[in-house]
């Protein structure tokens, strides 16, 4: 399967800070790039998604930045809160989702 590489593996941020998670993909046929948030014991939940014809998408405190030429995209969480502590997965899709390995985010009060 085509890979989606995600970094960092874990991230610790102070409350109010900015959390940044990066992903790189290989398959140029991907046409949909979602981010999922997963809390312990729960299934992943769609957080925000972008298509490659857009360079940035913002929903509340969450922003995706997309660089098609570099085949990279990132999630920015502004004003990070302890409730944002979860594992975040990026994915790419041309039909089926290919997930990254996840980033465990801890937001310290």
């Amino acid at each position: 399967q085509q890979q989606v590489k995600q970094s960092p593996q874990s991230l610790i941020v102070q409350k109010g800070g900015i959390s940044i998670i990066n992903c790189a993909y290989e398959n140029t046929a991907f046409d949909y790039f979602p981010w999922y948030q997963q809390f312990p014991g729960k299934g992943p939940a769609l957080l925000i998604a972008i298509r490659p014809d857009v360079s940035e998408k913002k929903e509340g405190r969450f922003t995706i930045s997309f660089n098609k030429s570099a085949k990279q995209f990132s999630l920015h969480i502004m004003d990070s809160q302890p409730g944002d502590s979860a594992t975040y997965f990026c994915a790419g899709s041309q039909g089926n989702l290919i997930f990254g390995k996840g980033t465990k985010l801890s937001v310290k009060p």
Binding site: Q1, V4, Q6, D31, Y32, P34, Y36, G41, K42, G43, P44, A45, L46, A49, F89, A91, S93, G95, N96, L97, F99, G100, K101, G102
Partner: protein
């Protein structure tokens, strides 16, 4: 808000035994997926259904895994015989259609094979 239902939440089984998981997707969702999530990794697709038909089972270990969605609604994933390496979270997801509509995941079945 409608949810994808999965049962059981937890399953412990011995190696070489059979095990089955059940999923009831959100009403009206024609596309159903089974994913496997190994601890510390992202979900990996096992099988995708469109209504009652399998559209992708390329990553399903067919010598021991089987999946069905007989009436195009709920679905069952079976493993026989279970192996130690099958210990993982098995997630079911559904979507309105297969073309990049959002996936809604259930809370999964945590399988431990001893």
């Amino acid at each position: 808000e409608a949810e994808v239902a999965q049962s059981p939440r937890y399953k412990i089984t011995e190696k070489s035994q059979a095990v089955a998981f059940w999923c009831d997707p959100i009403s009206g969702h024609a596309t159903l997926y089974w994913y496997r999530q190994i601890l510390g990794q992202g979900p990996e697709l096992l099988v995708q259904f469109q209504d009652e038909s399998v559209v992708d089972d390329s990553q399903l270990p067919k010598d021991r895994f089987s999946a069905e969605r007989l009436k195009g609604v709920d679905s069952t994933l079976k493993i026989q015989p279970a192996e130690l390496g099958d210990s993982a979270m098995y997630l079911c997801a559904s979507s309105l259609n297969p073309t990049n509509s959002p996936l809604h995941f259930g809370n999964g079945t945590r399988l431990t094979v001893t």
